[in-house]
Symmetry: C2
Subunit: 197 residues, 2 copies
């Protein structure tokens, strides 16, 4: 049976973790991006469908390709971030189910049922995006997730000719708490968000 993580770990993952808008001038290595994915991939998805696909935008050229599709308020901080992950979703994820869920014909549960495909892709691709955020924090990186961008533009620039569609973006690096860090916004209390039945 597992124990509770240390107070320091709970702080790092949840209580002290913040959405950063400014970044220290410190690179994120390709090795760290691999470490990140190698943790995040284990998070649970429906029928192990694992629909998330990620482009880690790191080079000047790829950042320039991304730039015009960012909302005005997201542009400067994203250009300055060491890495921007385009968290995307493969809407033909079910074609990989013979590999990912070998003990049953899970492909047949989805193929041809477009509403189920799209709902499963969006729900589970989003879950995996959250696992990616938690994995980044777990290895000592900070995140700045964002939804404000032109999804269709990003899809045309990065996923043309595929069944992959962008979901949201995550700036990744080492957050600079001395700049552009908003005060922590309030959260809903347990009684506002939850009940025990």
């Amino acid at each position: 049976m597992s124990e509770m993580l240390s107070e320091a770990a709970l702080d790092q993952l949840f209580r002290s973790a913040r959405t950063f808008n400014a970044w220290l001038p410190k690179e994120v290595s390709d090795q760290q991006l691999h470490e990140l994915y190698e943790l995040a991939k284990f998070g649970p998805t429906s029928a192990n469908s694992s629909p998330m696909r990620v482009v880690f935008v790191k080079s000047k050229e790829a950042k320039a390709t991304l730039s015009p599709f960012l909302s005005e308020g997201n542009r400067a901080k994203t250009m300055a971030a060491p890495v921007t992950a385009i968290v995307a979703t493969d809407h033909e994820f079910y074609e990989k189910l013979p590999q990912l869920f070998p003990h049953a014909d899970a492909r047949s549960w989805f193929a041809g049922n477009q509403p189920l495909i799209d709902t499963t892709a969006f729900r589970n691709g989003s879950l995996q995006g959250a696992y990616l955020i938690m994995a980044a924090r777990s290895i000592g990186l900070d995140c700045g997730p964002m939804s404000g961008f032109d999804n269709a533009g990003v899809d045309a620039a990065f996923f043309a000719g595929t069944t992959i569609k962008s979901n949201f973006l995550i700036n990744i690096g080492y957050g600079d708490a001395s700049r552009d860090l908003f005060p922590r916004s309030p959260r809903l209390s347990f009684d506002e968000a939850c009940r025990i039945a």
Copy 2:
């Protein structure tokens, strides 16, 4: 700056964590459910919108209400779990933005734009569901998330007369690794799921 978490913590959160189908006969306290939420609530959401709402189904009566809406394969294990969280989403989340995002009129970004409301609710409610899974693992609990149930039936039974809709379910307790634990299914490799641009 943060450090990498311990190997044991990374195992507990990601590498050794499993989706359990059988549960040890050990209760999950209301206090633990509060601890769980008090961590998960800090995970980032778009404009701090925090659309997730949760019913922790714990009593025999509430379990009996849930039971008929479960898919056949999910029923017995869910009835046996100490707690089943109904992870749901408030599609009028934007009415709480004056409280949750006090430094701007974020309510006006959403009100009246139903496609944006629904996309934001589903994406961010799902992110928060993943934070709930990671928070449960962080405090030493195991999870069994599921999508196989009659959402409309659950909504009518638990959320009638509200703007809250069910998203997915999470059985929560202490997993029994000696029963009904499938072998770990394969995951996509980095190169299958990601690229660095």
